[in-house]
Amino acid sequence: MAKLVARSVSPIILFLLPALSFYFVFELFPIFYSLYISFFEWHIIGDVRFVGLENYLKMFSDPVFIIALRNTFIYTIVTVPIQIILGLAIALLLNQGIKGKVIFRALYYIPVITSWTVVSLIWKWIYDPVYGFLNYVLLSLGVIKEPIRWLQDPSIALYAVMLVTIWKGIGWNMVIFLAGLQTIPQSLYDAALIDGANRWRRFRYITLPLLRPVIATVTVLLTIGALNAFVQIYILTAGGPLHSTEVINTYLYKNAFSYLNFGYASSMALFLLTITLTISIIQRRILSKRIEY
């Protein structure tokens, strides 16, 4: 009996050990360590001083942080809904029984599988004020009279960055929505047609409600992604010009690895973590509440 227990316990521990160890060392422990660091003023070289909540308070009187907070907020509010709407629109179009659906699906998915680095660099070139393709097209079509300094103009840069994010994300949304649309039985649409529902009513009363769970999940995932955007901003603008594209993550990174202020950076990281978790939980509650059947 003891032998049986021993034999059935040890494989479990054995099999789980590598996963658990890697996980504890590089994921779990760092999270708590991060919390710990945030209570210190910790410059990588030199003194380490316990300061309690000072780092957290400092954040809110730091004008750059406030700008970063605002930008993060704008970034999320703009990119998430637009990606969802466009992704859903394309999915709806593709679901009409189009020939070549598979090819379209693949084409729209290409930006999704490409790395953020490559995507950002390509767009940086396209956004080039003098030699970039975008300005060339807009100027030749007469849409603009002077070249737009997409990434150099503080009032436009954030929008330029958001455009890249939206562009890259549409395909991902589309693929998920397509799968969701395919779970809706055709007989429901037939019945609605006979019941006299026009196209808009079929969308509003059948498609949309039945897609709600999918939309909810996608929204949560996209929001988490938007709050934590880093790579594309770092490469496109590094947070500039004049902090117009600074988000919490980029400012955090600068504080950690340029100004070498680990403590302050950690507090920002934890603040971001809190916001992310809170928003996801709230979103999950609101969006899932009315999933009826």
């Binding site: 789980l16 680095t117 990281a269």
Partner: protein
């Protein structure tokens, strides 16, 4: 208007929008490829054209020889491959346990893994930096591989658990009756039947290792240890106007993910969705 014509118009309209959208999606990549075959003069000429007038291969040659793209490519390849291997092995073992065995801490442990999917990477960057430095793994392959592996475990275990759970217990039981050992069952039955799941997480992990930027930026400092993602960005930072050379590098950097995508397309889209919709 007679309905048949209306329907044709509608179909045409739909196609038109889809085509415009598809063009917008792929044009930047075409532009990248095009630029990689241009010389500096042509790249900066006005008006710019999609098809290079005088295409050259020079950029590719230079990329592989003069600039350390080749070395970066190798680095990315090693890091991505080893990470994939580790992730597959470790998460198979763990996923199997979560799917099939019962023990006291199973539920809490699993939820713990799941929770970290919501935790943004930046939170762990700083402590990991300190940790890796302390372990003397800065600027090494392992310094990248170990964290990458760890960060991919949660998602991989989640996905594999799903696949393992879907295998009917009756198959396992009949193997047991046929005298197969526990390890044998794992290796000869569970793993092969979970192949699609393993393919999925292998793809995920490989692409993750290949594309990852933030940590690679932080944990490597010398030029010949950089991965492609970081190398390309830093190269651009240094030579702001060498778009032609950079484009060639980017094309080379994009080839392996594209190959992976084409080869494993059937695992790609449905499973990414499954992971996304559930996660």
């Amino acid at each position: 208007m007679p309905p048949k014509i209306l329907r044709y118009l509608e179909g045409f309209f739909i196609y038109f929008i889809l085509l415009v959208g598809a063009w917008i999606m792929i044009f930047p990549f075409l532009w990248m490829v095009s630029t990689s075959f241009k010389n500096q003069y042509e790249a900066f000429s006005f008006p710019p054209s999609l098809i290079p007038q005088k295409p050259i291969l020079e950029n590719y040659v230079q990329a592989l020889t003069i600039v350390p793209f080749g070395r970066w490519f190798l680095n990315s390849f090693i890091v991505a491959s080893v990470t994939t291997f580790l992730v597959v092995v470790i998460s198979s073992l763990a996923g199997y346990i979560f799917a099939r065995k019962e023990f006291r801490w199973k539920e809490p442990l699993f939820y713990m893994f799941l929770m970290t999917l919501m935790i943004p990477g930046m939170v762990t960057i700083i402590p990991n930096f300190i940790l890796i430095r302390a372990l003397g793994l800065m600027d090494t392959y392992l310094g990248l591989i170990f964290p990458y592996t760890s960060w991919n475990l949660a998602m991989s275990i989640y996905i594999l658990r799903g696949f393992f759970s879907a295998i009917p217990r009756s198959i396992e039981d009949s193997a047991r009756i046929d005298g197969c050992s526990e390890l044998g069952i794992f290796l000869k039955i569970m793993l092969p039947l979970a192949k699609p799941g393993i393919a999925t997480i292998a793809i995920f992990s490989f692409l993750y290792g290949w594309d990852e930027f933030t940590w690679a930026l932080t944990a490597t400092s010398s030029s010949n240890m950089r991965t492609l993602a970081v190398g390309l960005a830093l190269f651009h930072g240094k030579y702001l106007t060498l778009w032609t050379l950079l484009s060639a590098g980017m094309v080379i950097a994009t080839i392996p993910p594209v190959i992976v995508f084409i080869l494993f397309q059937k695992y790609f889209i449905p499973n990414l969705m499954a992971g996304a919709v559930k996660g």
